[in-house]
């Protein structure tokens, strides 16, 4: 059952992004930025937590999930160390994903050439 919910929620987020691009004539980069910022907002306001409780990876894998991880890190640090920890805290969870992507991309460039 959780696979069905993940499918529907994740698919719906992607379909919304597609409609924003096609109808709103926004470029892919604009929509990407918009989704991440929205993910941060929903993360800080606690709504995204509830979405993840329902949909699991269906809410984590869309690009807004990156914003959620940033927000989650901010919240976790904020409560312990005050506002100075916002900068360091935001990468507590998102950092794992970001650094993985950077290192992986670097080594892929070592092994592969663009195919065109």
């Amino acid at each position: 059952m959780d696979y069905v919910v993940a499918f529907i929620v994740g698919g719906a987020l992607c379909a919304i992004a597609q409609l924003v691009m096609d109808i709103g004539k926004f470029s892919q980069m604009h929509v990407m930025g918009l989704f991440v910022a929205t993910g941060v907002f929903l993360g800080i306001s606690g709504i995204y937590d509830r979405l993840i409780a329902v949909a699991g990876a269906g809410a984590v894998l869309p690009i807004s999930g990156f914003g959620y991880f940033l927000a989650k890190g901010v919240l976790a640090q904020n409560e312990v160390n005050g506002w100075l920890a916002i900068g360091s805290g935001m990468f507590q969870f998102a950092g794992a994903i970001l650094s993985f992507a950077v290192v992986l991309s670097f080594f892929t460039a070592l092994l592969c050439k663009p195919k065109g």
Binding site: Q28, K113, P114, K115, G116
Partner: protein, 338 residues
């Protein structure tokens, strides 16, 4: 007076296309015109290390095969005219290192093929050169990475997008009698219709093509029926319909004798969106396919209008519209004993 009307050059002397050379990449070699090209690579890198080097190699090979086919030596070349799409015209400028002839670099975006041919013919007619070598090239991956995104980035392109042709075309123009004659050329004005979508070059360039074609008819007092074929460079599926409609609005009917190089070079099932584009599109189709058709006798007199969109990624990001230009050249088949 060699200037007819406002924008058309009519050459007094007989200026001939002496020989042509074409080199293309893998996708073009799979297309319907594969037999027309002199050199076809089955690798997008053309045996080189980077995309830019691959494009340079294509231009070099097109020139080499052109000179070789026509038994022309570098000593006969008085002037080299070339251009491409890359910043600072690097392909043309670097290839020119190996050509022992004076060099003028030209940029007309995808109109460069006919721009170099027209200017070459004019310089010969004016007596500034006896024989001119003109070349142009484009490469799908170099154009993608310069004008759009990294080649491997996942982007969903709209149906109006065009696909840059990988290839290069070279031509030797001179006074010596050849199989084709350059009779006239119409130099276009820059027309900016106000469109700003870099994924829809057809709409951006069609007004420029229509303007040049109409001006050509007015300047020479001819009609579309005087040509066996009027062909535009890379308007693709979107732009070719628009230019046809614009000409019809002005009272010129080109229903039967109009085509577009971007539609001829690929099969419709090759996933090239609206069709081919790029400097090489008009060059390889004209120098490879159309001139062979003329030699065969299928066409007598054609008007080739190469269209160029003079945009840059920076201007697009600053929300500027796309200026476009089109240059046309009239080519006639030379019959035996004429």
């Amino acid at each position: 007076m060699k200037l007819a009307g406002k924008q058309t050059w009519v050459f007094e002397h007989d200026i001939y296309i002496q020989e042509t050379g074409t080199a293309v990449g893998p996708l073009e070699a799979e297309g319907p015109l594969r037999e027309s090209f002199d050199i076809a690579h089955d690798d997008l890198y053309c045996g080189e290390r980077t995309w830019e080097l691959a494009e340079r190699r294509l231009m070099q090979e097109a020139i080499d095969v052109c000179l070789q086919k026509g038994s022309i030596s570098f000593d006969d070349i008085d002037l080299f005219l070339a251009g491409d799409l890359l910043n600072q015209n690097v392909t043309a400028n670097y290839v020119a290192r190996t050509i022992p002839a004076p060099f003028l670099c030209m940029f007309g975006a995808c109109s460069t093929s006919m721009q170099t041919a027209a200017v070459g013919a004019a310089l010969i007619d004016g007596g500034f050169a006896r024989t001119v070598l003109a070349a142009t090239s484009s490469h799908n991956a170099t154009a993608e990475r310069q004008f759009r995104y990294p080649t491997e980035l996942g982007v969903q392109k709209p149906k109006t997008a065009t696909f840059t042709v990988t290839g290069a075309g070279a031509v030797v123009i001179g006074r010596k009698r050849g199989r084709w004659r350059i009779a006239a050329a119409t130099i276009g004005k820059v027309i900016d219709a106000g469109t700003a979508n870099p994924f829809d070059m057809g709409s951006a360039m069609a007004p420029a093509a229509a303007s040049t074609i109409e001006q050509h008819f007015i300047d020479l007092g001819v009609s579309p029926a005087d040509y066996d074929l009027i062909v535009t460079g890379d308007l693709s599926r979107v732009g070719s319909v628009i230019v046809r409609q614009m000409l019809a609005e002005s009272g010129y009917d080109v229903t039967d004798n109009y085509n577009d190089c971007g539609l001829m070079i690929y099969r419709p099932d090759q996933n090239v969106f609206a069709g081919g584009s790029g400097c090489a599109c008009c060059a390889v189709v004209t120098y490879g396919h159309l001139l062979k058709e003329m030699e065969r006798g299928a066409l007598q007199k054609i008007f080739v209008v190469a269209t160029g969109a003079l945009l840059s990624p920076t201007m697009m990001q600053q929300k500027q519209s796309i200026p476009a230009i089109a240059h046309g050249v009239v080519i006639e088949a030379v019959k035996e004993g004429q």
